[in-house]
């Protein structure tokens, strides 16, 4: 399960949002304006089971997320969900990988301390003996110009999603 974010973990001024997470329900998240730059030369890697529960994280993942490995493994991947990310992006991710295909996109992730980091993520289904047994996401450093495009695009998408609601 996923507990609410704790003000004691957050550095600096923050805003409060309540996310409605799939299969989990509401989660209170605390968000600052701080961006942490993507570390040069690294890949941030995680794996999940078919339900999106984290089964494996690499060192770079742990370092960037601000959580410990114990907090991450066993948690739903939406532990990193940032309120500025449109729902449609993740709906597209899940639809694509469940079809057995690769998904690629830019993602703004929320850290335990309320800061965020941008990644270029590629998610691949792990096919073993013809069956999907889980998913792997490999993130790399994004081109800044693409991040700027996504900031504008996602803001429009999130605004539209709020109106529909």
């Amino acid at each position: 399960m996923l507990s609410d974010m704790n003000p004691a973990d957050v550095t600096g001024d923050y805003r409060e949002y309540t996310l409605d997470l799939f299969g989990i329900g509401p989660r209170r998240v605390l968000v600052t304006d701080e961006e942490v730059p993507y570390p040069d030369g690294r890949l941030i890697v995680s794996r999940t089971d078919t339900e999106g529960i984290i089964t494996h994280v690499n060192r770079s993942f742990v370092a960037m997320s601000g959580y410990t490995e114990d907090e991450l493994v066993g948690a739903p991947h939406s532990i990193l969900r940032h309120p500025d990310m449109p729902r449609a992006a993740f709906a597209d991710l899940w639809r694509t990988v469940q079809r057995g295909e690769i998904w690629q996109g830019y993602v703004k992730n929320l850290r335990k301390d309320g800061a965020h980091y941008w990644v270029k993520a590629t998610v691949i289904p792990n096919v073993r003996r013809g069956r999907i047994v889980g998913y792997t996401s490999v993130r790399r450093k994004p081109e800044r110009r693409k991040v700027e495009e996504c900031i504008a695009l996602y803001a429009r998408m999130v605004a539209e999603e709020r109106e529909v609601k």
Partner: protein, 251 residues
């Protein structure tokens, strides 16, 4: 019956005699006949694999994917010397100080090593560089990549990190590293094909025991390998998935 053993063409020429010594040792301890056939080009290797001529191979990560997924190969061991990583370097007097300083239409020197090239292109991506907007020069060795850089013929070069570290001092001093990958999971593997399926456990045991005595330690030294480490199926599958994410580009 005799089996064909080959080594991915990206092996260091310094280790050429080492592979022959290793092959002799393998034959003696396994009681199997291996014919070591070295190929100059990746395309020759591809053809031999396609024709199911290869039984044992020291494979680069790129070929490992195809060997496992399409040809039923099993990984026996990997070198215990750390993973394959890539370096982006420029000439020491280059105006570029970060990867992001490079611009589209840059001239990039690279080699035929498919996995090093792939990792290098990932490292160049934050600058907005991709295979459509750079001019690639394929060199036959990393020393030639270095030369292109200090002659000003290329703006940046892609190196296997280990090869970059092994460049001679005078060459190194004329280069500047912009970034080094820290991916940690991309390896070469020694792999066995379907005709050796019933020998996999025996071969793996003998390989991982290498280095226990002075004689086999010496043979490993000739390959530039400190130790062979056993690998399981899932580790290789994981690396292949990871390589697939790196080589993916949307249609």
């Amino acid at each position: 019956m005799s089996y064909v053993f080959t080594v991915s063409p990206d092996f260091s020429p310094d280790h050429l005699p080492g592979w022959f010594v290793f092959n002799t040792w393998m034959q003696r301890v396994s009681g199997l006949r291996f014919h070591l056939e070295l190929m100059d080009h990746f395309s020759d290797l591809r053809r031999a694999v396609e024709a199911d001529r290869i039984d044992l191979i020291y494979a680069n990560p790129h070929d490992a994917a195809m060997l496992v997924r399409e040809k039923g190969f099993v990984a026996l061991v990997k070198p215990g010397d750390g993973a394959d990583e890539a370096v982006i370097a420029v000439s020491a007097d280059s105006p570029f100080h970060r990867v992001e300083d490079l611009e589209p239409e840059s001239r990039i020197a690279t080699t035929g090593d498919p996995d090093v090239h792939l990792m290098g292109m990932i490292l160049l991506e934050p600058a907005g560089l991709n295979r459509e907007n750079v001019t690639l020069h394929h060199c036959d060795s990393y020393v030639l990549v270095a030369k292109r850089l200090f002659r000003g013929e290329s703006d940046a070069g892609i190196f296997l990190a280990r090869a970059f570290d092994e460049l001679s001092r005078p060459v190194r001093e004329r280069l500047r590293m912009l970034v080094r990958s820290d991916i940690q999971v991309i390896h070469h593997y020694l792999m066995a094909g379907p005709r050796l399926a019933d020998r996999v456990d025996d071969l793996r045991d003998r390989l991982t025991a290498m280095g226990d005595d002075a004689k086999t330690a010496e043979i490993l030294k000739g390959l530039g390998v400190s130790r062979w480490e056993a690998v399981d199926e899932e580790e290789v599958e994981f690396m292949i998935d990871l390589m697939d994410t790196l080589s993916y580009s949307p249609a």
